[in-house]
């Protein structure tokens, strides 16, 4: 007997739907043993995670707060993935987006609420887009690998923002601490229900809808899909692939940049170190799990939010070490990605001697 991996001819809809759910089940089952070993009842813990992240207005609002930047960044990354362009730089694009929005908020002097927010939005959009556009240009013009360029530009972006908050943008009244001044009320998004949930969330949903229509209903979206599946065929069909690559990376970065706008205008109200605790990297996993679909990104981002917010309760209620929370979140992601594999492939036992 031999075990071989075989590509499935078709993956049934049932399988595609049930595999991720089953994989979460398996992950919870495995994590359950870790919980038992720490003397915590797994069922109790899972119940608490759900209650914590969804069971109250407050919990739900926090989950949505967490979901918001993930949706933006996930949409940006998934758009590029559509065209087989690997934008690993969403983290940096979030930072420059936040920088652009903060620049408008701090120094433009605009007094009208909606003009201010619109200006901040477009500043973030352009900054994020330009940042990713550099990689797009290099890729289109000289075939420079965009994975390397976007990844390395993350560090430049983060250090650049550090430079600004330690230097020229530092709050003069902040005792030399590395923070910009707080934004005025003009530059803040609306908050709801006395929670931290802000209108950035609805903007994120709107973005998902627009992106969906763009991909599925426009000629440009069609071109992106064609170039993504076969670049040479696209060229043969007369599509300007170079322009499309630049354009897609620009748009991808611009959408990730909006996450920066939403974070500073909706949540942080100032620019500071660590405005994104790795949302740009989480976005890569999200885009992958969502199969690059805009709707999928919204759903997966929300699940991610539940996982991140609910994970806190493990520490809060049972004083489990933070390493446990990371291990728990890692297990779930691991099994989700594994399920992806089994949707495309299957394991088959073959009698000895059979070809592999």
């Amino acid at each position: 007997m031999k075990l071989v991996i075989e590509r499935r001819e078709i993956s049934s809809a049932l399988l595609r739907f049930s595999a991720p759910i089953a994989s979460i089940g398996v992950a919870l089952f495995v994590a359950g043993f870790l919980l038992l070993a720490s003397g915590v009842s797994p069922l109790e813990a899972y119940k608490e995670i759900i209650i914590e992240s969804l069971g109250s207005i407050y919990g739900l609002s926090e989950t949505l707060v967490k979901t918001t930047p993930l949706i933006f960044a996930g949409l940006g990354v998934s758009l590029a993935f559509r065209m087989q362009i690997w934008n690993i730089g969403a983290e940096g694009q979030i930072y420059v987006g936040a920088m652009g929005a903060s620049w408008v908020a701090l120094f433009s002097g605009i007094q009208t609420h909606w003009i201010m927010l619109t200006a901040m939005f477009f500043a973030a959009f352009l900054c994020g887009g330009t940042w990713a556009g550099v990689a797009g240009f290099l890729r289109a013009r000289w075939k420079v690998n965009e994975v390397i360029v976007t990844l390395l530009m993350n560090y430049i972006a983060i250090l650049w923002v550090d430079y600004l908050i330690y230097g020229p943008w530092k709050d003069p009244k902040g005792f030399n601490f590395p923070l910009t001044a707080q934004f005025s009320d003009t530059a803040r998004l609306a908050e709801y229900f006395n929670t931290r949930m802000h209108s950035g969330f609805f903007l994120a949903l709107f973005c998902a809808l627009v992106l969906y229509l763009f991909i599925e209903r426009t000629v440009w979206g069609y071109e992106i899909k064609v170039i993504g599946s076969n670049q040479r065929a696209a060229k043969y069909a007369g599509m300007n692939t170079g322009m499309a690559i630049f354009f897609v990376l620009f748009l991808s970065g611009a959408i990730a940049g909006i996450a920066g706008f939403s974070e500073v205008a909706g949540l942080q109200h100032r620019l500071q170190h660590g405005i994104s605790p790795g949302y740009g990297y989480t976005a890569i996993i999200i885009a992958w799990l969502a199969k690059r679909s805009a709707i999928g990104v919204v759903i997966v981002s929300f699940l991610m939010g539940v996982l991140l917010v609910g994970g806190d309760s493990l520490q809060l209620l049972w004083q489990l070490p933070v390493a446990f929370v990371y291990a728990f979140q890692g297990l779930i992601l691991f099994f989700l990605l594994a399920s992806d594999f089994f949707i495309i492939y299957r394991l088959k036992f073959v009698k000895g001697g059979a070809h592999v």
Partner: protein
């Protein structure tokens, strides 16, 4: 695929509807809210038990900053009316922390300590929504009616440890692994350097920034780079003991920080400026329990024993020990202040005039290096 837009509309509709439904729920919630608040108040009136919560920036096992806070937490728990306290470790600084702090507030904690600078905005924000809870934020500058701040004059034992370093260096190159160029860290580097120069004006202090509080790998690299350029005494403003291990491996001396870390570098260890949070935490718990707590900005020093110099290792000669002990007593009695002028900055300009002592406000916002420091602060 045709169904997808419908699905999205559904999601959108749900999202917009949720607030509507939730508002109703919220009304119910607010109407029922006073009940638990009352019972909580009654409970407090009966025994005024302290249920404390702590937010830590690193893991409790970091052997440094967070470890020292956790020791203080445990010391506070000795009080009979202090219930077992809760801590949450490795909480990211910034807006992210507000959720975790609020989590503690929702779970019935009535005294919450947030132990890193980056929790400042979040602490103020959560405090606004939880007026009946006392918050204490470590190292910040914002207060509110129910938010106080606390910190220690770590520059005092830093100055003393500088004297030890100045006496022990042979090559006159001392390495300083430092986290972020913020006033707290800069103040420590300056005090340390002033201590060094008070006994050894030839010695220079080289600073390497790591841009992290806790990252043993990065800290180790920074320490190694300082050893590479000839430093024979190291110290650090970091939460991990990586600098100690680097010095131990390369046969240099090292001065620790945060807690007595000599077990990480038995041969290299000289001494360490350390925190004793226990006495302060105990006092605050008492005040909240007795109802005498009020918002203030606490900045204790060696006199109150919030900060001190750890016991010397046998590598420090007796006369150096005696000198440092004498200076330490002078600091405690108030006759010696590390930041008494004349003090020059790196360019040689007098920043604190002779006969002057830098006021607390200047110390809290310190943004320049004194003469003798080799390094830059980005401006």
């Amino acid at each position: 695929m045709k169904k997808a837009p419908l699905l999205l509309l559904l999601v959108l509709a749900l999202a917009f509807c949720l607030p509507g439904c939730s508002q109703q729920e919220k009304k119910e919630e607010t109407s029922s809210a006073p009940a638990p608040a009352e019972s909580k108040a009654q409970e407090q009136a009966e025994d005024k038990g302290i249920k404390a919560g702590f937010i830590y920036v690193g893991p409790v096992g970091d052997a440094g900053w967070t470890y020292a806070h956790d020791q203080g937490r445990q010391e506070m728990e000795i009080l009979s009316y202090v219930q077992p306290s809760t801590f949450i470790e490795t909480v990211p600084e910034g807006a992210e922390s507000a959720r975790v702090i609020n989590g503690l507030a929702l779970k019935g904690h009535n005294l919450i300590f947030t132990t890193s600078f980056g929790y400042m905005d979040a602490t103020i924000d959560v405090a606004k929504r939880n007026k009946d809870i006392v918050f204490m934020h470590c190292s910040g500058f914002k207060t509110a009616d129910n938010v106080g701040t606390y910190f220690g004059r770590m520059y005092e034992p830093r100055y003393l440890s500088g004297i030890v370093a100045g006496k022990m260096t042979k090559k006159n190159i001392i390495g300083y692994v430092a986290a972020f160029p913020i006033p707290e860290v800069i103040r420590g580097i300056n005090a340390f350097t002033l201590g060094v120069q008070s006994v050894n004006p030839q010695a220079e202090v080289k600073v390497v920034w790591t841009q992290t509080w806790f990252d043993p790998g990065v800290e180790r690299d920074a320490a190694d780079s300082l050893l590479d350029v000839g430093a024979d005494v190291l110290t650090m403003h970091q939460d991990a003991p990586a600098t100690m291990q680097a010095a131990e491996a390369r046969g240099a001396y090292v001065i620790g920080y945060n807690s007595d870390m000599r077990s990480f570098a038995p041969n290299a260890f000289l001494t360490a400026p350390i925190w004793n949070w226990g006495s302060l935490y105990t006092k605050l718990a008492e005040e909240v329990h007795n109802g005498t707590w009020k918002s203030e900005q606490i900045w204790w020093g060696m006199k109150e024993n919030l900060v001190e110099l750890a016991a010397f290792s046998s590598a420090v000669p007796a006369e150096v020990q005696a000198l440092v002990t004498e200076k330490g007593n002078a600091i405690k009695s108030g006759t010696l202040h590390p930041f008494a002028g004349p003090i020059k900055d790196q360019s040689g300009k007098i920043v604190i005039a002779a006969g002057q002592i830098a006021p607390d406000g200047d110390l809290l916002g310190m943004n320049y290096f004194v003469e003798g420091v080799q390094g830059t602060i980005s401006k």
